[in-house]
């Protein structure tokens, strides 16, 4: 039987894209300069750090779990890269990303092996990572010298043919992680575990290993996001990414990935990130203070969760 034109699944798939288009048009009507190509490029480049954080956490959310440590991980890697770059050069970048991966691995281990609910496991790990960040930065904001940045972080902050490199990095991540989720066995297992964990377990797949890997991926992407953030701001600090946890999770949910797991994709998160960016800019044009924007993001998050959640999967909502 053919799927009806307006099936629930189709509407849910198309809704985020439609929301993005409508919001862009609205903001463009209020402020026509917003739609200028040069401005759109800047807006997209600004959004990519958020997308990097959100792309990794998408895997975790698709498992039906959550990662509340990404902002702490990103702050930590910004400190590591800032503290090491001038002295050690490019080595600082892989070291920082590796630190992010290890943090994700730790979260995954605590969650899977110790069987601690993921929101508590990652909350606890975020505390540990904040302390690591304070130690790495000696409790202050660490500047990244401009020469060192131009030499080693040009891949993140430079421009080629007029295109900011953040966008290139974002697109590479979109393609690679999109491919991982859609085409590899790992991606298939992530989707399967999110839909029906016990069935996957019964079919002999090492569920625990897949989950740990997903958390490690989330930590890695948060780590990369921290490096790019630090590079853009020209400094690393233990509180650099603190305001990004809520928007990052909102990107994933607004894009149409359900927190109950199973449903979702990286391009949805990409759309979600752009939507959040357009909303943010729209609010700025309308004169909503930067401070008050957290209120809107909080409400958007709750509304998006309510819309995308699959309630047939959870007998009791705790």
């Amino acid at each position: 039987m053919a799927t009806p034109l307006l099936s629930r699944a189709r509407v849910q798939n198309a809704l985020p894209v439609m929301a993005l288009v409508v919001l862009t048009v609205i903001v463009g009507t209020i402020e026509p300069t917003f739609l200028a190509p040069a401005n759109l490029l800047v807006v997209t480049a600004d959004t990519m750090t958020l997308f990097l954080m959100a792309s990794g956490v998408t895997f975790v959310i698709m498992l039906g779990c959550i990662d509340l440590s990404i902002q702490a991980v990103a702050s930590m890697t910004s400190c590591i890269v800032a503290a090491m770059l001038a002295q050690y050069g490019f080595v600082a970048v892989p070291v920082a990303v590796l630190a992010g991966a290890l943090s994700g691995l730790l979260s995954g281990y605590v969650y899977v092996v110790l069987r601690i609910p993921s929101f508590i496991a990652t909350l606890a790990v975020s505390g540990v990572m904040t302390t690591v960040a304070y130690i790495a930065s000696d409790t202050r904001s660490v500047p990244i010298p401009a020469e060192a940045r131009d030499a080693w972080l040009f891949w993140a902050t430079g421009r080629s043919l007029g295109v900011p490199h953040e966008i290139v990095v974002g697109l590479v991540v979109l393609v690679v992680l999109g491919g991982v989720l859609a085409l590899t066995p790992f991606g298939r297992y992530v989707r399967a575990i999110g839909s029906q964990e016990q069935a996957v377990h019964a079919s002999g797949i090492a569920v625990g290993r897949v989950k740990i890997l997903a958390f490690a991926l989330s930590g890695t992407m948060a780590g990369i996001a921290g490096v790019v953030m630090g590079a853009r701001l020209g400094s690393g600090s233990p509180t650099l990414a603190n305001e990004f946890l809520l928007p990052a999770i909102a990107c994933v949910i607004v894009g149409g990935t359900a927190i109950t797991g199973g449903v979702g994709s990286i391009w949805k998160t990409f759309i979600g990130a752009l939507t959040i960016a357009v909303v943010r800019i729209g609010m700025t044009f309308l004169g909503v203070s930067v401070f008050a924007q957290q209120i809107v993001f909080g409400l958007i998050l709750v509304a998006a969760v309510a819309l995308t959640m699959d309630r047939s999967k959870v007998a009791v909502v705790k």
């Binding site: 498992l63 039906g64 779990c65 959550i66 509340l68 605590v110 969650y111 110790l114 069987r115 601690i116 609910p117 993921s118 929101f119 508590i120 496991a121 909350l123 606890a124 790990v125 975020s126 505390g127 540990v128 904040t130 302390t131 690591v132 304070y134 130690i135 409790t139 964990e197 016990q198 233990p238 809520l246 999770i249 927190i259 797991g261 203070s289 401070f291 008050a292 924007q293 957290q294 209120i295 809107v296 993001f297 909080g298 409400l299 998050l301 709750v302 969760v305 309510a306 959640m309 309630r311 959870v314 007998a315 009791v316 909502v317 705790k318």
Partner: protein
């Protein structure tokens, strides 16, 4: 009988586990006293108590939520908002209000309102509590920042600040107030239907519902109650620091959750009590104080608390009840 002895073993184990937090607290006190004899001086004990006052008030609310098997991540947002509201209602340099101590009940009610919204949205929209409270917690910080625009309110009301600075029998008023909060929470837990319903929901929500427990109403009520306690905590924070700004809640969530789980209340619900959480606050505060006395930098505390959460939850989790952990 085999099953009988197994049950006996289980009981003995459960009793041992119930006393473990007290043992940890005593052990910590002994170790710290040996390293730094100053620990037991009267002035340090008073310092410990006044440091414990706000966390005590906050955990009283969080304990009930966690006993239901839910979680409340809105602590920081509610504390910040309540503190900002309080600081703007007493004599201050930002508004012309001068309500004095009347500001405290206003802050408590404001906290209760956010708690109610948390509970209402969680229950009516069937959103997991960690998501609803995460969203509204951030929104709370947002409201607090939007009101002040980054400004810090300075409180000029000496009478109001007496709440934290004034003393009765050499112990700060805030500590007495926290003691009363504990008493209220204990009475609710032990002597009211609400208290019994919380345990019933935490142990087995479906059965509780079949047995006639008004699950939805109880849930909303418990989140509201938690908000009331956070509101009081925010007012006390304003009195203690003598100011109000949007980041007043920073770090409170971490301490609160650490104290509840370290005290032995299980995240899976149904196991624990407000008295457990009192012990939990004791452990967190004594450890923090001990680290200060030993000269360990303050920023290490969050990391240590994070590890404490992991260890405590790993030890306390009753895994037989969990099929799939998310």
């Amino acid at each position: 009988m085999a099953s009988g002895s197994l049950a006996g073993q289980r009981n003995r184990f459960a009793r041992w586990r119930g006393l473990a937090p007290v043992g940890v607290l005593v052990l910590l006190c002994v170790v710290i006293t040996v390293i730094s004899p100053n620990f037991l001086s009267f002035s340090n004990l008073v310092r410990l108590l006044s440091g414990a006052a706000i966390p005590l008030v906050l955990v009283m609310g969080a304990t009930f939520v966690i006993l239901m098997g839910s979680i409340d991540l809105s602590v920081e947002g509610v504390v910040a908002l309540a503190a900002v509201i309080t600081s703007m209602l007493v004599l201050n340099d930002f508004t012309s209000a001068d309500l004095g101590l009347l500001a405290v009940p206003v802050a408590v009610v404001a906290g209760g309102c956010i708690g109610f919204v948390n509970g209402f949205v969680h229950v009516r929209l069937k959103i997991p509590s960690f998501m609803a409270t995460l969203g509204f917690g951030f929104a709370g910080v947002g409201v607090a920042t939007a009101i002040l625009g980054g400004f810090t309110v300075r409180i000029a009301d000496r009478g109001f600040r007496e709440l934290a600075l004034g003393r009765f029998l050499d112990v700060p008023f805030s500590v007495w107030l926290a003691g009363m909060a504990v008493l209220v929470a204990w009475v609710i837990q032990e002597r009211t239907r609400l208290g019994r319903w919380v345990y019933a929901i935490g142990t087995d929500e479906v059965t509780a519902k079949h047995a006639g427990v008004p699950v939805e109403r109880t849930r909303i009520l418990v989140f509201t109650l938690a908000g009331l306690f956070y509101g009081l905590g925010g007012a006390l924070a304003a009195a203690q620091l003598g100011q109000g700004h949007a980041l007043m809640g920073t770090g409170r969530l971490f301490t609160t959750i650490t104290a509840v789980v370290v005290g032995g209340t299980a995240l899976s619900g149904g196991v624990g009590s407000v008295l457990n959480s009192v012990i939990g606050v004791g452990i967190v505060i004594v450890l923090t104080n001990g680290m200060v006395l030993m000269g360990i930098p303050p920023y290490v505390q969050q990391g240590v608390q994070g590890l404490m959460i992991i260890v405590a939850v790993a030890l306390a989790l009753d895994r037989s009840r969990l099929v799939v952990v998310k």
